[in-house]
């Protein structure tokens, strides 16, 4: 019991310290409040996948793989392909991660990333119907978190969009007998644009981007905004049992707009590099 009590005290002290530092616009790793950690993106890392990307945001490391398979459409969208985003925080990723089915955090992670891709219409799913109402292409994006150090949401989002944008597949067609066939031609997925996720944490009165694990441990609330190529909002999610003022939400949208543009350039740079081979 005394151990637990102590840890509460320690946690509170850490938070007080952090708030003091932030009030001077400083962070533990010397970043500015609006600075991301270094982002590195490598695509084409898994030859057996249709697309893949390994992304590092500071020490946070994730790997995404895309598999494109023939599947059955949902009854309410008979003429559209499927997108399925799954994430697993592997037990490799931290001393606190455990093997087993995804918990509520991993499910939220996957669903928010999924919404960013889906609502921005990044993939033109209407072009993935093979036999409308019967057979369509299903795009599975599986993201494995290998090492956690905060901001899994953005890292997962970048790995997802980079692996989708660099995916290749045979051209599928339906022959005269109604059979689905593959041609030798290799084509990309039909892509419209790159949605970019920007996650911010509120600690005390300060809003910061790209929180580390240490910052997440003391944050009050988290807000993620995803922006499409036109600078419009396409997905959003507040997290954690803390609040935001109405003005903080509006401020967050302005921050997200600026950072999304910067990061989109990084992602597009890697995609272009990969396309050139």
């Amino acid at each position: 019991m005394s151990a637990v009590k102590k840890s509460i005290v320690v946690e509170q002290l850490r938070k007080v310290q952090m708030i003091e530092l932030l009030s001077k616009e400083k962070r533990l790793d010397n970043r500015g409040l609006m600075d991301f950690r270094p982002i590195t993106i490598e695509t084409g890392v898994i030859e057996k996948a249709n697309g893949s990307a390994r992304v590092q945001v500071g020490n946070t490391q994730v790997i995404a793989g895309v598999k494109i398979e023939i599947g059955d459409p949902f009854p309410d969208t008979p003429d559209k392909g499927l997108l399925v985003v799954n994430t697993e925080v592997l037990p490799l990723a931290s001393a606190y991660a455990e093997p087993g089915p995804p918990d509520e955090d991993a499910i939220e992670l996957a669903r928010v990333v999924d919404r960013g891709v889906r609502e921005s219409h990044m993939i033109d799913l209407s072009k993935l119907a093979l036999i409308p109402g019967k057979k369509v292409l299903a795009v599975f994006v599986d993201v494995n978190v290998l090492n956690t150090d905060g901001n899994l949401l953005d890292a997962t989002s970048y790995a997802t969009v980079a692996s989708i944008a660099t995916s290749k597949m045979p051209r599928y067609y339906v022959d005269e007998n109604g059979q689905i066939k593959q041609s030798d031609e290799i084509i990309p997925l039909p892509i419209n644009g790159i949605p970019v996720s920007v996650t911010m944490a509120r600690i005390g009165d300060a809003l910061i981007v790209d929180p580390t694990s240490e910052e997440e441990a003391v944050m009050d609330a988290r807000i993620t905004l995803v922006l499409d190529e036109d600078g419009n909002l396409c997905a959003g999610q507040k997290g954690q049992p803390g609040t935001l003022t109405f003005d903080q939400v509006k401020l967050a949208t302005n921050i997200a707009k600026v950072k999304a543009k910067e990061i989109r350039e990084i992602i597009k740079g890697e995609i272009t590099k990969y396309a050139k081979g």
């Binding site: 019991m1 637990v4 009590k5 509460i8 009854p75 509520e104 955090d105 499910i107 939220e108 996957a110 669903r111 919404r115 609502e119 921005s120 807000i223 905004l225 499409d228 600078g231 419009n232 909002l233 396409c234 997905a235 959003g236 999610q237 507040k238 997290g239 954690q240 049992p241 803390g242 609040t243 935001l244 003022t245 109405f246 903080q248 939400v249 509006k250 949208t253 707009k257």
Partner: protein
């Protein structure tokens, strides 16, 4: 794309863009629960039970300095157009999480160390905005259970349908419209406790929708208060409010 707003500016259920659906809130509908409520918001029909503060099982989940809040949002198999299997879906798990995080800021959990408070939401019939209706009803049930609260919590979605910003989207608008943005607020403390966005809004549309949603929350807050007053002070006294 389905036409969701007609030439008179009316929506498919006849509402104006800034008009709420019919709303009904009842308090204390279940005998065994420590607190309970029932809400109808459009075709949403949701019953909420609160149990707690109570002992925590398993014990290691207990916290020395406050109560553990747990939420379960669940849809009855008959609540949706096609039958929903009873086991919780990924969607239900995510919604349970955001509802918990939307309610927690309003609760003085530090008053009940080493205990748990369970909030169970059962969606008997689902329409657009069931998580918002669920949050609104849960806050009432928590008040009915006598849990100390800093403020109420009240929720409503705004969004976009056929190019226009609208409030309190129904099922069809949710599915066929361009965007859905549910929020929850503490109406007296002026704090946001839930925020989600699905779909595309320009920055200007976002600002407009956000402000409309906050206003709608304030209207619904009146209904929450009235329901609690009806229960605790009798219907006659409501006029005094």
């Amino acid at each position: 794309m389905k036409e969701l707003i007609d030439e008179k500016g009316l929506r498919i259920d006849g509402r104006r863009v800034d008009e709420l659906r019919p709303l009904k809130i009842e308090v204390g509908v279940l005998k065994n629960a420590d607190g309970s409520s029932y809400i109808e918001m459009g075709k949403n029909k949701i019953v909420v039970a609160v149990y707690g503060p109570k002992e925590v099982h398993p014990k290691h989940q207990a916290l020395p300095d406050r109560s553990v809040l747990r939420c379960r949002y669940h849809m009855a198999p008959f609540s949706t157009d096609t039958r929903k299997p009873p086991q919780p879906s990924r969607r239900e798990i995510e919604i349970s999480k955001v509802i918990r995080e939307a309610l927690e800021p309003a609760l003085m959990l530090e008053e009940y160390p080493r205990t748990a408070i369970d909030v169970y939401l059962e969606v008997l019939q689902a329409d657009g905005g069931s998580r918002c209706a669920g949050i609104t009803a849960s806050a009432v049930a928590l008040a009915d259970a006598g849990i100390s609260m800093r403020d109420m919590v009240v929720a409503c979605a705004a969004g976009k349908a056929s190019g226009q910003v609208v409030i309190d989207l129904n099922d069809v608008e949710d599915k066929e419209g361009e965007a859905d943005m549910p929020i929850a607020i503490m109406p007296n403390l002026n704090q946001l406790t839930l925020f989600q966005l699905d779909g595309i809004l320009t920055p200007e549309e976002f600002e407009k929708a956000f402000d409309m949603a906050i206003n709608a929350c304030r209207t619904i807050y009146d209904a929450q208060r009235k329901a609690l007053m009806d229960k605790y002070f009798g219907k006659a006294e409501v006029g005094e409010e």
